[in-house]
Symmetry: D2
Subunit: 137 residues, 4 copies
């Protein structure tokens, strides 16, 4: 079990949002950050680095946004919908863009295929959490 | 002149958004991050720390969101409106909440008064940049 | 398998340091960051928050240092011993201090017990990687 | 006056290290982070991006280490010499490497000249603070 889940389990807070969805989102966002940091470095090591520039920029943005979202989602105050909703929307947008770009390079670069997968999972987990938060009104 | 401005000036990119607005937003977001990190620590040193818990949590969220937004706004790809708009909206929301909470403690704690000011500036600069990005369509 | 490991596996670089040790350190540092962020928030929710101030400050420092170290260790350039060695030494130091402080609260607060465990693992993994880097000369 | 300085001034803590040196280091580290983030993006926009790969990697490392050091130095607990000393040593090392590499490109790329300057200042300010901390014993 992840530390995100272990720690959410022992400190019940007032948020009505499902613990499992929250832990899954935090884990997927942290995984995506790590994948994007490593993929940036792998892109920089490729012979065709000039063709990887868009992928690198999107990975850097994606890592920054996912880092912020994972931290905010780890605090109950993050579930203020006025903050959480647009933050998760920006996650969904950057994970989608970054995942699409990584996928374009997936056949040639296995590291991009793996990073695309991490982006898709973070995108889906952010969307699931966004829906759950929106359902709370 | 700030490094944000100096570096935007020498690397013209394709973004149609005004350089001055962009540099001002990056600087205000970075200032707000620093103010929130320092205010968190100052709050933790107060005798009435139990009354400062909301302020601390909001400062931590605010620092995380402002850090991400400043980094993304420092890259042209950040001006993809699908990412930039909700990210700046989450900045406006957390800077408003954090500024309001800091202001509640401003009379008793000078550090909260200063942090509230940094939050207000980051809120305004984020709003200005958001408007400029939205005007581009 | 973690994304850190998956991505190190597919992009062999020139570093002579064992891949398994590197991936284990990156994973342990990222886990520790997440545990410290969540433990900070849990501490802030406790009735005896005034007694948790040292724990909160150490958790904040620990999260910041582990975040930087995980990112640097995800890039081959991070294995420049002049940078990697002191950075990992600061990780070992803060993970030790933070783990010790969390352990002091472990009986009363389960979240501190879990965080102490994450700190111990990150401390050990940083030490292992530090030794491996130092052996390279 | 910077927010780092304003906030250090109003929350005197028990650290014997000179406030001016501390604020100067925090400001220089934050400036360096911003310069490195912007220089990374500028490098990625250059026609000779393949020759900028080392510069980009060092800028990414430098931004990560400076971010952590500025945050830790903003908390009194950061002045635990066991943590602060190696962390500042890793700052000095990465700012030196990154500054040297940026300087190699300074004639061709004005953004690298500016970033080299930010790295030199952060290196010097980290060294000054390191000496002050070491003098405390």
């Amino acid at each position: 079990m992840s530390y995100a889940r272990l720690l959410l389990d022992v400190k019940p807070d007032s948020s009505p949002v499902d613990l499992g969805l929250r832990a899954a989102a935090i884990d997927a966002l942290n995984d995506c950050t790590q994948a994007c940091i490593a993929d940036t470095d792998a892109d920089l090591g490729e012979h065709n680095v000039a063709e990887m520039v868009t992928c690198i920029r999107l990975c850097l943005d994606c890592a920054d946004v996912c880092t912020a979202a994972a931290a905010v989602m780890s605090r109950p105050s993050g579930y203020d919908p006025g903050v959480a909703r647009p933050l998760l929307e920006s996650c969904v947008a950057i994970c989608t863009s970054c995942g699409d770009e990584c996928e374009r390079h997936a056949r040639m670069h296995e590291h991009c295929r793996i990073c695309a997968e991490a982006c898709r999972r973070a995108e889906q987990a952010s969307r699931d959490l966004l829906n759950a938060i929106s359902d709370q009104g």
